[in-house]
C-alpha cells in the first residue's frame, strides 16, 4: 500500500476545468470578437487592447501576491492617481531647473517608484505591525489618496507641462519592433511574477502565509515580513503602472484610476487565485486581465450590445469564475 508511484490520480473533470476554464473563456472571446468585427484581429486593435490592459495588468500581478498571502488592497486605484499627480507636480516643478529632456523623465520615474514603495510600506506596516484588518487599512488609504490627489489638483486636472509631453510620450506610444513599451513591461512583470510565484521561496512563503499563518510561523517563516513585502511589491508595481500611464494623457485628475482596484481584484479572481489566500496563479491573472479588456473592446467594436453593459457582463464573469473555483471543495 506504499503506493508512492505517480498515478494519473486526478479527478479529471474538476481540476481540468479549473485550469482550463479561464483559457477557454479567453479563446471563446477571441473567436466571438473576430466573428463580430473584421478589425478585431488587426495589429492596431490588438496593440490597443494590450497597451490599455497593461496598467491594470501590472497592478494585478502585484495584487495576486497580496491576495495569495491572505491580504487585500483596495487602495491601488487611488494610489495610482495620487502617484500620477505627484509625478506630474515634481516634473513640472523641476522643469525650469532641468529643462525638458530624459533626465527629467528619470526624475519623474524615480518619484513614482519611491512614492509607490512608500505607499505599499504604509499599507503593509499598518496591516502587519499594527495588526489592523487589510480591508479597513486599505479602505482608509484609498480615501486618503483619492482626497490628496483631488486636493493637489484643486478639484480639477493636473497637467504635465507641454514642453515635457512630447518628451515623455514615447513611453506609452513607442516600443521595440512594433511592440509598445507598456506591453513589453507588462510581459516582463508577468513573466517575473509567474517565476517568483512558482519557483521562488517568496512565492511559496506567500502561499504558506495565506494558507495558514500559524503553520508558517512555526515553520520559521517571517510572516510579517512576507506580508509586508507583498504590499511593498504591489506599491512598486503601482508606481510602474503609473509611469506607463502618465505619458498617455499627460494629466491626472480625481477620476484617474477610479475602480482600478476592483478590476485588478476581479482579474486575480477570474484567473483562479483564491480570494481567501493560500493559492495564487500569476498566469491566470494575466488571462483574467485580458478577458476583462476584451469584453470592453468587443462591446466597443460591435453595435449589437451597448458598451454601457460592460460592467454587467464583467460582473457575471467574475461570479461564474468563483463558482467554478468552488467545485473541488463541494466534491469532498
Amino acid at each position: 500500500m506504499t503506493a508512492t508511484e505517480t498515478r494519473p490520480s486526478r479527478p479529471a473533470r474538476g481540476v481540468n476545468l479549473k485550469v482550463l476554464g479561464p483559457i477557454l473563456a479567453l479563446v471563446v472571446l477571441v473567436i466571438v470578437g473576430a466573428a463580430l468585427n473584421g478589425n478585431f484581429l488587426s495589429a492596431a486593435n490588438i496593440t490597443n487592447v494590450l497597451s490599455r490592459s497593461a496598467f491594470i495588468g501590472i497592478i494585478a500581478v502585484g495584487m495576486t501576491f497580496v491576495i495569495t498571502g491572505g491580504g487585500l488592497d483596495l487602495s491601488v486605484g487611488s494610489m495610482a492617481a495620487f502617484i500620477a499627480g505627484l509625478m506630474i507636480l515634481v516634473m513640472n516643478a523641476m522643469l525650469p531647473v532641468m529643462g525638458p529632456g530624459w533626465p527629467l523623465v528619470f526624475v519623474g520615474m524615480l518619484t513614482a517608484m519611491v512614492a509607490g514603495t512608500l505607499a505599499g510600506f504604509v499599507n503593509g506596516f499598518l496591516i502587519t505591525t499594527m495588526r489592523i484588518e487589510a480591508f479597513i487599512v486599505t479602505l482608509g488609504t484609498m480615501g486618503i489618496y483619492r482626497s490628496l490627489v483631488t486636493w493637489l489638483a484643486d478639484g480639477g486636472t493636473l497637467s504635465l507641462d507641454f514642453g515635457m509631453r512630447s518628451v515623455i510620450r514615447p513611453i506609452y506610444f513607442d516600443g521595440i519592433l512594433g511592440i509598445s513599451w507598456p506591453i513589453i513591461v507588462f510581459a516582463l512583470v508577468a513573466i517575473s511574477g509567474e517565476l517568483v510565484m512558482r519557483r521562488a521561496a517568496f512565492g511559496r512563503h506567500a502561499a504558506a502565509v495565506g494558507s495558514n499563518d500559524q503553520v508558517a510561523r512555526y515553520s520559521s517563516v517571517n510572516v510579517n515580513r512576507v506580508r509586508m513585502l507583498t504590499y511593498v511589491f504591489l506599491g512598486i508595481l503601482v508606481g510602474v503602472a503609473t509611469i506607463m500611464y502618465v505619458p498617455r494623457l499627460g494629466s491626472a485628475s480625481p477620476s484617474t484610476g477610479v475602480l482600478w482596484e476592483l478590476e485588478a481584484i476581479a482579474a486575480v479572481i477570474i484567473g483562479g487565485t483564491m480570494l481567501k489566500g493560500g493559492f495564487g496563479r500569476v498566469w491566470g491573472t494575466v488571462i483574467g486581465v485580458l478577458i476583462l479588456s476584451l469584453i470592453d473592446n468587443i462591446l466597443n467594436l460591435t453595435d449589437g450590445v451597448s458598451p454601457y453593459l460592460n460592467g454587467a457582463i464583467q460582473g457575471v464573469i467574475i461570479i461564474l469564475a468563483v463558482i467554478l473555483q468552488r467545485d473541488k471543495k463541494a466534491e469532498s
Partner: protein, 502 residues
Amino acid sequence: MSETRALTLADVCRSFGPVQVLHDISLTLRPGEVHALIGENGAGKSTAMKIMSGYLEPTKGQVKLDDAPVRFASSQEAEAQGVVLIHQEFNLADQLSVEQNIFLGHEKRRGLFLDKAWMQAETRRLLARLNCKVSPDARVRDISNADKQMVEIAKALSRRAQVLIMDEPTAVLTEREAEVLFEQVERLKAEGVAILFTSHKLDEVKRISDRITVLRDGHVVAQGMTAEFNEDQMAQAMVGRDVSSLYPVRSVGVGDDAALEVRGLNVPGYAHDISFTLRRGEILGISGLIGSGRTEAMEGLTGLRAAQGDVRINGRPVSLRSPQQAQAAGLCYLTEDRKGRGLLLQKGMRENLTLQALPEFTNWLIDHKAEDAALTRAIADFDIRAPTREVLVGNLSGGNQQKLLIAKIMLTDPDIVIIDEPTRGIDIGTKQQIYEFIHALSAAGKSIIVVSSEMQEVIGLADRVLVMRLGTIAGEVSGDDMTEDKIVRLAMGLGATRQEAI
C-alpha cells in the same frame, strides 16, 4: 435508555479515486459491547468509521442498522438514528462557547427563544460527569486540547447516542483524563450503547474493549474477543512483525558538554523560573500534566512566545526572539498541534516537507528536483504511506501526517530538537521506528528534548526526566528513579509520602 441498536458493516469497500483503501470490511457493533478497531496508520480505521456514521459512502457493500440496510445521506441523518461519531480531528466551532458547541444544531427551545438556562445547566452536568472543569461560557479556541476532547465527548453524550463511534479519543488525553473517559464508556456500555473506538495505545484496547477487529492495508486480518489477544499479538497482527521490544537500548553514551543551558526562563502567564541543562547527545524527557506549561515553556524557549531568560547554546549566550533565530542557532521545535500549526492541509506533501528548510532548496529559484528527491527520501526514511505523491496533506491519515511533520523538521538538520508529543496518533510499528530514529539522532551527537503525555514513552526513551507542575519544574528523575509512580507524584505536587495516584 429505551432503545438499543446494532450497527453492521457488510463487505464494505471504499476507494478514493483509483486507490482502494477498504477491502470487504465486515464487522458488527453490538449493544452493550465495546468494540476496538485497531491497525497501522493509514490502515483505514477513520475511513471505516466515517462510513458507519454517514460522513462517507461506501463504494461497495452495505451499512446495516439492526439488520436492515440503511443509507445515511449525511451525518445528521445518522445522528438522528442514534449513530454518533467523534472525529479524530476536533470538529468544534472555534469561535463559539463550549455550551454553544455542545448544542450546535440541537438547541433547546422554549417557545420562540432558546432555553439558555436549561442548556447551561445541562452543559455543566455533562462536563461534571466528565470531570472537566472548563466553563460553559469559555470560547473553544481558548481551551486546551484535552478539554476540547472532553467537549466533543460531552457533545456526543448530549445526543443520546445508541451507537457511539470514537476515533482516537485518547490521543490528546493523559492517562488520568483517559481514565475519566473510560468510566463514561463503562457507564454507556451498561446502558446498552454499542461502542466502537480506535486507539494506538494497546493497553487501553486490552483494558476496555470486549471485541477487537484488526485492519491491515484496508483488510480485516483478525477479529475476535479481546480476551483471545495479548498486546504483543495485537501488535503482531497490526504490523505483521514482532514489535515486543519497543524501546531501543542506548548504544552510545551521553556527552559531557552542555548543548543547551536554560536559566530562569519566564513565559509570562504560563511558565516561570525554568532552568535546566541539556547535554550533547542526551535525550531529555519533559513530563507533566496537561496545562502544566510544558508546551508553552518550550515555545517560549524557541521564540514562538514572548519569554525572558538566559539561554546558551554550546556555551555561547544566544537571544532567541523568533523561530528564525532559533533555527539559525540550530534549535527546532516540533509542535504538538500538527493540523493547526504543523502542516498546511491544503497543500501537497512536497511543499509541506520543504517549507521550513526552503533556503536549502533555493538558489535564486527553488530546485524542484531536489525537493522531489527529498520527498522520496522522507517517504522511505519515515515510512510515510500516502495513496499518491500528489495527495493533499489533509487527506493523509493522522499518523502519516505526523510522520511527514517529523520529516519536515528533520530536513532542517537541527543540533537540538524539541519534539512535543512525538508519537501522538502513531501506530506501534511506526512508534518503534521513531524511537529508533530518536536514538540514532542522539548517537549522531544531536540533543533531543521529548515532551510527552505518555509516561511510558518518556521513561522508555529518555535518559532523564524533568517533571513540570503549574508552570515550574517540580523535580527531576533519572536512572532507577524513573518510574511512573515517582513522575506522577511530582506532577501532582505530592510529597514523598506514597499516595494512590488517581
